[in-house]
């Protein structure tokens, strides 16, 4: 049995095959095509031809893709979204779509309605749902919207109103109409959660083309029996059906796959990972093999959101970063020769001094023609190297949660520019095949379920609350395609709420299981 992993990045589409023992059988790299689909097809064809494996033995196919991110950033292929906010008269002082970029509101049609409903912080009713109000609204919106986002005040505490509105919409518009419920997407913070839910709703068309495109590409290459999955940004997978409900969870899955692939290759589950590309480097932290989650509001395409995102920082430093002297001081990046490195860097006969040239001059790397950088003053090269180290060390330090030295796993095509020792780092682990770490990350992912709610322990004791949250997380995992009997608890996060008069705690539970 084989698994196929494909990662569509900004520059390259990578594809790999793992055997049933998760050994790497073969890997290919092809340029990413404008329509994405052709690039995937080419990568698949090359992979299958070069490895010559039995196609009928491919049991799983995983896709990590940036299509949803691109759709938001480029404002393309987005659906018209109607927003129903449950909470009126509360919250009317800040309306949906406030502070959104104008061009984005136009693309999404800007339709919204504030209706009665919502809960208080302690689960008491803020407002009763008025079903007739919803019915009238839906009559008015017919033909005006492609997708609906439902957002209720404190729905993270009680979401039955959101789910009821969802069934009303399904009764009126049909079972297949795309609906996004905020309680299943974001955490506490109405505006940020609403924004994330709207984005999720806007991606319903993109995810449809992405998933059917992938399935067709597989069938076109004669792969009919594989189970098909999409990668999420937390290092786990989702089934096609689940992905269609939560397309936003694919955002930032690329860097996640890359750091997870690296940890898999290095066989280390708790570590910091540095992925050095041509223009930028990503730094992330793995805890028990999964990326640490970001704790602050994240902007996606200039829109403030709060859905789950990996805590990864990017630095403008890569193998193609340009080295300059400004007023007697050496600077490195943030601009880069990028994919033109093989023409423009000095070692390849070009005219631009890059970080790769510095590494070759100092004997850290052996690429291109060494003699072409022999003229660079050694002191100068050492100083430039110090600047490179400084940029990396600073970024590593920002990601640390304690002042102790950390272990660092190093991957990526540009990793040759990183020196052997860094301040704040106890040891650096490097290895081969690091350049397709992201596709490996895609193919080793498991399936997760997550649940978050505020529980009042004085009413529902801690044990009962924990069990309830875990049960709901397991349901999510099974829905996403996990085998129920393999599911285990991987994360419990309890945050006591400071201003609460009662013993209220925000409880977050995550479970992970094997693919079904």
């Amino acid at each position: 049995m084989y698994k196929i992993g494909i990662d569509v990045g900004g520059t390259n589409t990578d594809a790999i095959i793992l055997d049933e023992y998760s050994n790497l059988v073969h890997s290919v790299k092809t340029p990413t095509s404008v329509d994405i689909k052709t690039g995937i097809e080419t990568a698949l064809r090359n992979l299958l031809q070069e490895s010559n494996i039995d196609k009928t033995k491919i049991s799983h196919a995983m896709l990590g893709t940036t299509q949803c991110t691109n759709a938001i950033v480029e404002r393309k292929k987005l659906a018209k979204v109607g927003v129903i906010r449950l909470g009126y008269p509360a919250t009317a002082s800040v309306l949906p779509y406030t502070a959104w970029p104008k061009d984005m509101i136009e693309k999404l049609s800007g339709n919204y309605a504030l209706v009665h409903g919502g809960y208080e912080y302690d689960g008491q009713l803020l407002g009763e749902l008025d079903e007739a109000e919803i019915q009238t609204l839906l009559e008015d919106w017919r033909e005006k919207v492609d997708s609906i986002a439902i957002v209720g005040v404190f729905s993270s505490i009680k979401n039955d109103q959101e789910l009821r509105v969802r069934s009303i919409i399904q009764e009126v518009y049909g079972e297949k109409f795309p609906i996004s419920c905020s309680s299943l997407i974001g955490s506490v913070g109405l505006i940020e959660r609403e924004n994330a839910t709207i984005l999720n709703a806007a991606l319903c068309k993109v995810i449809e083309t992405t998933t059917t495109g992938f399935v067709h590409a597989l069938e076109g290459e004669g792969i009919f029996n594989a189970k098909v999955y999409l990668c999420q940004n937390d290092g786990t997978l989702m089934s096609i059906d689940y992905a269609k409900q939560f397309p936003i969870l694919t955002i930032a899955c690329g860097p996640t796959n890359s750091i997870r692939g690296a940890s898999y290759l290095a066989k280390i589950k708790d570590t910091m990972v540095l992925d050095v590309g041509g223009t930028t480097s990503d730094i992330g932290v793995l805890q028990d093999g999964f990326p640490r989650e970001s704790s602050v509001a994240v902007e996606v395409g200039d829109i403030r959101t709060n859905f789950r995102m990996p805590d990864i920082i990017s630095v403008g430093l890569g193998g193609g970063s340009i080295v300059r002297v400004n007023n007697g001081k050496i600077t490195v990046g943030p601009d880069s020769v990028g994919y033109k490195i093989s023409e423009e860097a000095l070692v390849f006969g070009g005219n631009t001094l890059t970080t790769t040239d510095i590494a070759v001059r100092l004997g850290l790397a052996n690429v291109g023609d060494r003699s072409l950088v022999a003229h660079i003053d050694e002191e100068f090269a050492k100083e430039a190297q110090l600047e490179i180290s400084f940029l990396i060390e600073q970024a590593i330090d920002k990601m640390k949660t304690s002042s102790e030295d950390t272990q660092l796993v190093l991957v990526g095509g540009g990793s040759i520019i990183v020196p052997d020792t860094l301040r704040g780092v106890s040891n650096i682990v490097k290895f081969e095949n690091g350049t397709v770490a992201n596709a490996i990350g895609a193919s080793i992912a498991q399936i997760s379920g997550q649940y978050e709610q505020i529980y009042i322990y004085s009413k529902e004791p801690r044990e009962i609350s924990l069990n309830d949250a875990q049960e709901k997380a397991v349901k999510q995992a099974v829905l996403a395609g996990a085998l129920a009997e393999t599911i285990e608890l991987v994360e419990v996060e309890e945050t006591p709420l400071a201003y609460h008069p009662e013993n209220a705690t925000r409880l977050k539970v995550k479970v992970v299981g094997k693919m079904g």
């Binding site: 919250t91 912080y121 506490v188 109405l190 330090d397």
Partner: protein, 367 residues
């Protein structure tokens, strides 16, 4: 008189968060409410204190309650009008000439802008703290013996209450419990004041100051040194420390976030350390175990590179900051002011000394 537009509001939000000394929460929701209100009703008029008449009548507006609730359930928007009219009627005043903020910082710098926009009344360039403090009686009007009540309180459902209390500490107690029942957040109108009282007891020019601070911090394409220099000049402040947060210890007691953070020096403060104690707001700063600033003087943390204010909730290991200290308004430096909001009130065993003296002392010992 001048008008406040969107850009001015963006700047005021940043500047007020700076003067909020770590407290008051993230002003994001407040800013969004203010921007929405002026989008709908047009820009707001700002009057300086010398443009108002002694006998005219003014009421401040503020939100009370848990910041964690406010991010999920925010106001309907027309409560302000109701609570204003109710309080005006109760006091027997037909005309409320204008409104102003109770404190600089967080959400409460923005609420009066919403009120002014909706009622089409001017905003007055003053507040009752010149910074942020956690309790209702920590207001310069209280220092001059002005009563916080009659006050009005309301929620988005339409419940309205009027209180008359025997002193301003009771106002805090009763309003706090009503707020919890209203769903842990409420809108309040209190310290009704005349123009003469504002002139005597308010902290003047605070909105303009917030705006100028925000303008400097938000200015693009300038180097940090120049920006910082200009900022310090503006607020008569001192850069107390450049460092990295290496530890944050928090505990929750009696509805407050108490704690302390340790900073490890960098750049000019290499090999030195600083401790900052906070209770919602930053209260005491110690450099190498020597106190360099204490409440009611302001201790503001800003991002090392962007100079954007850092709130207590967002403190975490590794964050690079500059610690800036500035003198409190002179009203806080009186005996009554120090008794109300000085180090002893918050349980620290120090005698208050002004930041100017403390900084001088440290420099002198260093030389």
């Amino acid at each position: 008189m001048r008008y406040l537009d969107k850009e001015a509001i963006e700047h005021i939000a940043i500047g007020a968060a700076f003067l909020g000394t770590g407290g008051g929460g993230d002003p994001y929701i407040g800013k969004m409410m203010a921007l929405s209100a002026i989008e709908k009703n047009g820009p707001v008029k700002l009057y300086s204190v010398d443009e108002i008449e002694d006998e005219d009548f003014f009421i401040p507006a503020a939100m009370m309650g848990a910041p964690s609730v406010l991010v999920e359930k925010f106001p309907r928007g027309d409560e302000f009008v109701k609570v204003f009219q109710k309080l005006a009627k109760y006091i027997g005043k037909e005309k409320i000439t204008g409104t102003y903020p109770m404190e600089a910082g967080g959400v409460n710098s923005m609420i009066p802008i919403v009120v002014a926009a909706q009622l089409d009344i001017p905003l007055i360039d003053c507040d009752g703290m010149g910074r942020a403090f956690p309790e209702l009686q920590m207001v310069t009007f209280n220092l001059d013996g002005i009563s916080a009540t009659p006050m009005a309180i309301t929620d988005e459902k339409g419940n309205i209450g009027i209180f008359e209390t025997i002193d301003n500490k009771w106002t805090e107690r009763i309003a706090r419990s009503a707020t919890v029942e209203m769903g842990a957040s409420s809108l309040v109108s209190l310290y009704p004041t005349t123009g003469a009282q504002i002139k005597k007891s308010g902290v003047h020019h605070i909105i303009t100051l917030s705006e100028k601070i925000g303008e400097i911090i938000a200015s693009k394409n300038r180097n940090v040194k120049d920006k910082l220099h200009e900022l310090l000049q503006l607020v008569s402040g001192y850069e107390l420390f450049q460092g990295k947060i290496v530890d944050v210890i928090r505990e929750t007691k009696g509805g407050f976030n108490l704690g302390k953070m340790n900073l490890e020096g960098m750049e000019v403060n290499k090999n030195e350390n600083m401790k900052v104690h906070f209770q919602n707001e930053n209260l005491i700063a110690e450099k190498n175990d020597q106190v360099v600033a204490m409440t009611p003087d302001l201790i503001c943390l800003v991002d090392y590179e962007t100079l954007l204010p850092v709130t207590t909730e967002s403190l975490k290991y590794g964050k690079r900051v500059r610690v800036i200290g500035l003198p409190a308004h002179e009203k806080w430096r009186t005996d009554k002011g120090i008794e109300t909001a000085g180090p002893n009130y918050f349980g620290y065993d120090y005698d208050y000394a002004p930041i100017e003296e403390l900084v001088k002392k440290v420099v002198a010992e260093h030389v």
